[in-house]
């Protein structure tokens, strides 16, 4: 029993190793790219659309709505990044229903890579949205005394993102492995179904937290307007 799929090595040549994490990440990338290409090859606006196009539209529309609700901004600029995070993590967690599959998100390397993407994306979106000076000034926000804490929080939330996803997925697969050796009949299946639910929730949480971090970096100017906005909506 392994704590991470990094230790399962399929092929090795000198310093290059092909482990389960890499292999299944590539498989998911292939699945997503080829699947999206096949679906979007002939899109139509006729009254009757293909069922796959319908499915993709639901997914994209749903992600769009969530981004808009969280950030209160135009969702199209964040959709590629946040949507990719969500779909990649969700698919990699959902495929655990296939026997022999090791979720790449159960490896700390993958989750740290995803969290580092968020770590880079937050200042990227922040600087493109409001300029470098204005972005850096929000580190001094309530008072300049808070500067070290703001910087620490930047790193600690990246670590938390990575370890949260890793811990949840890894614990799911370890619990199933332990249960198979203890009570192999029926009970692991229940935990595995529960693991599917946890996988979707964790994908959702990862994407939403990434969006919340990006929104807090881009929305600095409009804090006063932002405070008024929800109340206007509540009246309407």
């Amino acid at each position: 029993m392994d704590i991470t799929p990094d230790n399962i090595i399929y092929w090795q040549w000198r310093a290059i190793t092909l482990n389960a994490t890499l292999l299944f990440t590539w498989l998911i990338m292939l699945l997503l790219v080829v699947g999206s290409w096949l679906v979007t090859r002939n899109l139509s606006v006729k009254p009757k659309i293909s069922r796959w196009q319908n499915m993709l539209e639901i997914v994209v529309e749903g992600i769009n709505n969530q981004i808009h609700e969280v950030s209160q901004q135009e969702p199209n600029q964040y959709l590629p990044f946040v949507g990719t995070l969500f779909i990649f993590i969700a698919v990699s967690n959902l495929l655990t229903i296939f026997p022999g599959y090791q979720p790449p998100t159960g490896s700390l390397s993958t989750t740290v890579a995803l969290a580092l993407c968020v770590f880079v994306a937050v200042p990227f979106f922040g600087i493109t949205k409001q300029g470098i000076g204005s972005y850096l000034r929000h580190y001094l926000q309530p008072t300049p005394l808070m500067l070290p804490f703001n910087i620490i929080s930047e790193f600690s939330r990246t670590l938390a993102l990575a370890v949260r996803l890793f811990g949840n997925i890894m614990s799911g697969s370890i619990i199933v492995a332990i249960l198979i050796s203890l009570a192999p009949l029926l009970f692991p299946v229940i935990m595995q179904v529960f693991g599917l639910l946890i996988g979707i929730i964790q994908a959702y949480i990862f994407a939403i937290l990434a969006m919340v971090y990006i929104a807090s970096a881009t929305r600095n100017h409009r804090t006063n307007h932002g405070a008024n906005q929800p109340s206007e909506e509540e009246i309407a």
Binding site: I3, E69, V70, V163, R164, G167, S171, I174, I205, I208
Partner: protein, 91 residues
């Protein structure tokens, strides 16, 4: 019964692994219970806002839960990838 260094390391690791998850899960469990109770109360008062409340609840619970997950990861490292254990068994 004599216990050599490796046995001692193994014993302490297993005991601490159990204590880590056991103690670390208490706080988040209580906190999540409160969060769910409050969220249910809020949904009962304002059923139209159920979407927003549920989303905030999930995100908040994930953040609360992460401390328990940290403890669990530490336990798993102690059991399956213990650096001290590897050091003594390889020597």
């Amino acid at each position: 019964m004599n216990i050599d260094n490796a046995g001692l390391v193994g014993m302490v690791s297993i005991i601490i692994a159990g204590i880590t998850t056991g103690l670390g899960a208490i706080g988040p469990a209580i906190a999540e219970g409160w969060a769910v109770a409050r969220a249910l109360g809020a949904i009962a008062q304002q059923p139209d806002k159920a979407n927003t409340i549920t989303r905030t609840l999930f995100v908040g619970m994930a953040i609360v839960e992460s401390t328990a997950i940290y403890c669990f990861v530490v336990s798993m490292i102690l059991i399956f990838a213990n650096p001290f254990w590897n050091y003594y068994t390889q020597k």
